[in-house]
Amino acid sequence: METEEKKEYVEGMSETKEKPTSEETETVTEAKKTDIVCAPFLKNKDTTTTIMRDVVIALLPAALFGIYRFGFRAFLIMLLSVTSCVLTEHVCKRIRRVQESAYECSAVVTGLLMGMMLPLNVPYWFPIAGGVFAIGIIKQLFGGLGRNRLNPAASAKCLFLVLVAPLMGISMEGYPVTWSESTLSNLFFGFSVGMAGEVSTFLLLLGGLYLVFGKVISLHTPVAYLVSFAAVMAVFGGYGTDFNGLAMQLCIGGVVLGAFFLATDYTTSPLIAWGKVMFGVIVGGLTAALRIWGFTVEAVVYAVVLGNVLVPVIDIITLIQTKKKDKRAK
């Protein structure tokens, strides 16, 4: 009580001083209110944060299933990579002194994706280093949110596959060595071996469809990706009309994760519908080609990153087409 009285008294004393400042703040808020006198006054409720939140929601079932199947280690890897990404994002923002408003969740998406794509026998320091690489170098060095050229999560996994795994002698085991051991349904529902977040094709598809129905992503890229992948596999991979084999190829190595989550990343994919189709076809075809002629089944991340490099070109080509259409109208 006493302190309150004191406060009042002090305020009363300094009234002459206080008043102009309060008036000033009032005029400032008024100016802010009347500042936006321009329509539209309606706004749709989607913001960057809600979009990123939706992506996390879509990824969660598959991630949780991976934890359920592979236990604490899978959980720890995901947790480490998410934490590392979020912390790196914060530090980078501090250094760059930018106020990339809100908190965007985009680092969480990157971290979660990376954690889901890493193998179980990865050393614990890698998710941490990968987060720093993905956010610090791939994203923030290129200008932060919305400016990165490559998909951060896919790039981090590429780094792991190219540098870390061979150096440390980690073999990319975990894949069914002989096809006879795993059936299609085992692969589809995630009861075979693989990366923690990639095993359940079914749950990834479910998450992908959640995004499609939530209008977060369009079907262009995923459909083009999967069709192109299957087509190249069928023609050059020697599968022909062996649908069982093709379906198995679609279910391993995170092809669905790539199609619905990596290739549809807004920032690193083309802007308009035709570009998205083109991008899906290129990345899908590349995935299949790398699987057939490359050195690893882990083709998805390489294909996505290679495709990302082409995005500016695709954008230029497709946007020129829309401009031409305009001219014809004149």
């Binding site: 006054f41 749709n44 809600t50 979009i51 949110l145 919305g146």
Partner: protein, 440 residues
């Protein structure tokens, strides 16, 4: 169902249900009526009354000044109190005639006399329109008699009545088509008398089911008139989009509809034409939608020109709580009102009141390249490229990227998840560029 539509645009929660099912109420104001002399595009009208004069309902108080101009007509009876500068909806000051309302609403002579429009010549029809002081009621306020006087009457192929009313919350046109459908069709027939080669088209969005049902019956016997139901989408009501959907012809920003043989009129304008020509009733009242989550009883009201927004709000039952945002017009293209004492003029189609200013509370963040603005743009532009030029005030780049084709519908700003003020910036730069061009 294969209804006609255009590329781009957005679907949204349009809030029309608030006021859709209530019949139009008629309001008579008690307070002073204020008539700005410039309620239209073109030269300011010249006052023909003086302070202290008695005026009657329907009496001309200011005369059209030059070719592109329109009369101003009083909607109340009383005494001229002052002729002075007053604030208008746009926030600018404009010379206005203030009339002290005596509440009697005495009609001037000759109002309400029925005429047989089929016996009138073209010149007479145009003269009666001019006398009635009709301007385009869709929002631009272009004098109707001028719009209906193209170089060659026989070059007009389509007279289109725009009943799409795509702006969210607005239901005035919908109500009018339901309640006054017959007069609207008659009004269109008057317009068709002016253009012997023209076909009449009434464009209505498909969600206005009752209006479509009523109008279908009415146009069944008319050979020259056809009803065109189109998909519900914003901004279907934009002039260029209406023409595109009816004729398949595309317009650029530098063209006017007459260039491709079209004349587009808002539903209420056509109704005003009928009233003015066939019933000698000047355009002094219009239907205004008062809606939004900030008013107690959203509804459509027939309100006298010159009534202040303050009184209008009182007459419909007042505001709910303390609304943050008052808008003259709809929320997508309207103007924010900071002072409610300004009068309702000829071009005000709605008064929307919102508890919260949603657009103002949204912080801006970097573009994440989602491409939604490109998908939503009805003109096929790339707003995310344009915004870079607009933010840097780079005029050449903006024009080169077809920025002048922007129709300022606001779809891009509506969908942007980063909360960028796209359309607001385009609008500002377009105004600057247009001003510069005019000066040259």
């Amino acid at each position: 169902m294969g209804k006609k539509t255009f590329r781009g645009g957005i679907r949204m929660d349009d809030g029309k249900a608030l006021s859709k099912n209530k019949p139009i109420a008629v309001l008579f104001p008690k307070g002073d009526a204020v008539y700005p002399l410039s309620q239209h595009i073109g030269l300011t009208a010249k006052p023909v009354v003086e302070v202290g004069d008695k005026v009657l309902v329907g009496q001309r108080i200011a005369e059209a000044n030059g070719v592109v101009s329109a009369h101003v007509i009083s909607a109340v009876s009383g005494t001229v109190k002052a002729i002075e500068e007053r604030l208008t909806v746009s926030g600018a000051m404009c010379e206005s005639i203030v009339i002290e309302n005596d509440g009697a609403f005495d009609l001037a002579a000759g109002i309400g006399v029925k005429r047989d429009y089929t016996a009138l010549s073209k010149e007479e029809i145009r003269q009666y329109m001019k006398d009635a002081g009709i301007v385009g009621l869709g929002g631009t306020g272009f004098p109707t008699h001028v719009k209906l006087t193209p170089k060659r009457d026989d070059a007009i192929e389509y007279v289109i009545v725009n009943g799409t009313e795509c702006e969210p919350y607005l239901t005035a046109d919908d109500r009018l088509m339901r309640e006054e459908g017959k007069k609207i069709v008659e009004g269109l027939k008057i317009l068709l008398r002016l253009f012997e080669n023209a076909k009449g088209r009434i464009v209505v969005t498909e969600e206005k089911k009752e209006a479509i049902r009523g109008l279908t019956d009415l146009v069944k016997k008319e050979e020259r008139i056809e009803l065109v139901p189109v998909k519900t989408k914003y901004p279907q009501g934009a002039e260029r989009k209406v023409i595109q959907v009816v004729t398949g012809r595309k317009m650029t920003a530098s063209m006017i509809p007459v260039d491709i043989g079209c004349i587009v009129h808002n539903v209420e304008t056509v109704l005003a034409v009928y009233r003015g020509v066939a019933e000698s009733f000047p355009f002094i009242r219009r239907v205004v939608t008062v809606s939004g989550d900030g008013v107690k009883e959203p509804q459509n009201v027939l309100v006298c020109n010159g009534t202040s927004f303050e009184e209008l709000l009182e007459l419909v039952g007042g505001a709910k709580g303390e609304p943050e945002l008052y808008v003259a017009g709809g929320p997508m293209r309207g103007t924010q009102l900071t002072d409610l004492s300004v009068p309702v003029t000829k071009t005000v189609s709605a008064f929307t009141v919102f508890a919260k200013n949603m657009a103002a509370t949204m912080p801006e963040s970097p573009c994440i390249r989602c491409g939604r603005c490109i998908f939503a743009c009805p003109e096929g532009l790339v707003p995310r490229t344009l915004i870079k030029y607009a933010e840097a005030d780079h005029k050449e780049g903006f024009v080169k990227q077809n920025g002048m084709e922007c129709c300022e519908c606001g779809c891009c700003s509506y969908v942007c998840p980063a909360g960028k003020q796209l359309m607001q910036n385009f609008k500002r730069l377009r105004r600057t560029i247009l001003d510069e061009r005019r000066k040259r």
